[in-house]
Amino acid sequence: MKVLMFGWEFPPFNSGGLGVACYGLSKALAKQGVEVLFVLPKKINCQVDFCRLIFADKNPIDAEKILKAAYLSPDIYGKITQGLFAGRGLIDEVKRYALLARAIAKRESFDIIHAHDWLCYPAGMAAKEVSGKPLIAHIHATEFDRTGGRGLNEQVYAIEKEGFSKADKIMAVSNFTKQKVVKHYGINPEKIAVVHNGLDLQQTAQKFYNSLNLGGFKKKFKIVLFLGRLTLQKGPDYFLLAAKKVLQKNPNVYFVMAGAGDLEAQLINSAIDLGIADKVIFTGFLRDENLTKIYQLADLYVMPSVSEPFGLTALEALGHGAPAIISKQSGVSEVIKNCLKVDFWDIDQMAAKILAVLQYPTLHQTLSRNGQTEVQNITWDNSAKTCLDVYNSVLG
């Protein structure tokens, strides 16, 4: 079986879970004997041995910066890219990708098309038009997740909706997301298969625990970690409000906010206004070794997302042995039992649970151990098997 897969970003040139998921899934599909042609919009300097990478645009200008900005709303993206190239916004980039996809689909041979998120749906649809092959629309996050339902971008919504209706089958990263697609896009639930994400265990293989004592810092202080884009969808503002409550009870805690995003300045100001700026550390975007280290430094991981289609970071944190408190408004809460769950808006509960994990060593230890064991079974291999079943059902 040969799959023409359209993605937008790929590690190490990724700004979030989409790239990680595309990497994990294609690698595991390859292990299942599936030949993956992975298309990216712009040439980046990366190589993998499990699939063939095809770059739609071989001579891009400043590709990395543009790809990374894609999680932002088209308006903000427009502002960032201004001056880079004349007047080209994100929607134009997406359309241009579709044009280039047409040529690729003509040139290559494949059995099925698989497109990830709205950024790639036009490319997927174009490839389907040219080749007549079935299209899978994979949904990692809807416009409703990104915006919280406020200030929806109509163009993005229209592209998503068209992608869902033109697709032969939709893959959603969770039941949580499937319900959103049914509710907000009017799609028949039978058309949607749930393919949960997995954890790449290789990521957790590196151990820094012993080298991370930070000169005795860890003996006195606990570290609570937020890791994700600093944007409305991820609920970093709720994390700060909970931090304030925790610190009133237990001052020996540091709150680390790892990630970059449009709310960064606002969050720094909030930390100052709340009077906790000395206990909140902003690290910016982390990857590779630094990412591993921050997970392993953390005494607790909190994912307070307002709307989280899946939440790969929760699996990563658990894989590194950090206990996790995760938002009930998330896909990952469907697959993980050994964690604590809260409603993102329930600051009191969030703070109470943070304090409990820090205060009761037995709880910390049990959550850590059982969580780490549990995620060993949430693998990309399982995701790939489900994915392959969907391919086969579509191909009949």
Binding site: K249, L340, K341, Q349, K353, A356, Y360, L363, T366
Partner: protein
């Protein structure tokens, strides 16, 4: 001549309310009174009232040939007296027939036996007083929480005036032997053991409504035939299960009440069969052999051990912590504190912290007020810390 010994256990804990870390030192209100009343209202309506009524009808209909033994925890009786006295009256009507025996147990359905011999004795005495007061009965046979049993316990309850004790007919204790005889425990004194026939008991309590089961649907006639099959291979068939099997674990819609209604008649159709209560069974039959129960055996899960209550560190710690307050609590001579401390010993609190979910799952989640075992531990530990603060 096989006797059937039907024993129904009924108990409901005082569930805890969501007591957060921010509540410590702020209030001492630990129990979720409205929720407990709601649970009890539902169980009363679905199970206690209709089952009591049916059992009474059956005793009358069979003119004393149908018998049933009950285990009534003190914490349940207390809650019923407070909110649903009609259920107590139902139990009283049953015991007044002379065909309903009540067994001894710990008032608080606790694991005190494992942690404090003196507290264990106190709670058994408290239960005795309660049963005496409500039913004018002196229990002769003992049943420890969740059918816990080992050699030493058999010996100890003899010293407390009991003639017999109930236990689980676990395969790893019985080996080739049948559970359908009376036994004694190694070094267990004269105490006689009645061991649960888990196969036949679970056919009612777990499998009755299970459509994947090849014996579904189970009729009273079929069940009575199984009892008859044991003729010549045993003297007493011990059917021990939760009272709530009738109407709550198995809903009315499954036909469980029809089954119960017809069961005595079908069993008594075979003239060699009869119903006997535990105190009669141990008079009628001699112990067949001595069995060795070196470790505690229970009726829980597939392991038949204490792992449902003590299987993980959170449970071990919570139990150890609550019993660590024993002396300090008793020294205060404060009745309210003592009462609260005892209610916190009820085994359900620790059962809710069990993370063995994944296989035995559904049973553990049943009636649990918590989203996860971890939340159960947090709530319990917060309350423990508040209680401890009150002692200073």
């Amino acid at each position: 001549m096989p006797s059937v010994c039907l024993y129904l256990q009924t108990h409901q804990p005082y569930r805890l309310k969501n007591f957060s870390i921010f509540d410590i030192g702020q209030n001492h209100d630990y129990f979720d009174t409205p929720a407990n009343k709601n649970y009890l209202e539902r169980i009363t309506r679905k199970s206690y009232l209709p089952t009591n009524k049916l059992l009474l009808e059956l005793i009358r209909q069979h003119r004393g040939k149908f018998k049933v033994a009950l285990g009534l925890s003190g914490v349940l009786l207390e809650q019923l007296e407070e909110s649903f006295p009609a259920v107590i009256e139902g139990f009283q009507k049953l015991t007044a027939t002379g065909c309903c025996e009540i067994l001894g147990e710990t008032y608080h359905h606790s694991l005190a036996y494992l942690y404090s011999p003196s507290e264990f004795q106190t709670q058994v005495a408290m239960h005795n007083r309660k049963i005496k007061k409500l039913f004018n009965i002196q229990p002769k046979v003992f049943r420890n929480t969740e059918l816990m049993l080992n050699n030493q316990m058999a010996k100890q309850v003899e010293g407390m005036g009991y003639q017999g004790i109930l236990g689980e007919g676990a395969d790893y204790i019985l080996g080739w032997r049948s559970p359908n005889f009376v036994y004694q425990a190694k070094d267990g004194g004269k105490t006689k053991l009645l061991l649960r026939n888990y196969q036949l008991s679970d056919n009612i309590s777990f499998r009755f409504s299970c459509r994947d089961w090849n014996e579904w649907p189970l009729t009273a006639g079929k069940f009575a035939a199984w009892i008859k099959d044991n003729q010549g291979r045993g003297e007493v068939i011990n059917l021990f299960m939760d009272y709530e099997t009738f109407g709550e674990h198995q809903w009315e819609e499954t036909g469980i009440f029809e089954f119960l209604k017809n069961l005595p008649g079908e069993i008594l159709k075979y003239p060699e069969n009869n119903f006997q209560n535990p105190a009669e069974v141990i008079k009628l039959y001699k112990p067949k052999a001595e069995l060795d129960f070196p470790n505690i055996v229970t009726w829980a899960d597939t392991e038949r051990d204490l792992s449902a209550w003590l299987g993980n560190k959170m449970q071990q710690e919570a139990l150890q912590k609550i019993y660590s307050l024993e002396n300090a609590i008793k020294e205060t001579k404060n009745k309210k504190l003592l009462n609260t401390w005892r209610k916190l010993q009820t085994s359900d609190h620790f059962y809710y912290m069990c993370v063995k979910w994944f296989a035995d799952g559904d049973v553990h989640k049943y009636f649990s007020p918590y989203e996860s075992p971890y939340d159960g531990y947090i709530t319990f530990m917060n309350i423990f810390n508040d209680l401890k603060l009150q002692l200073k």
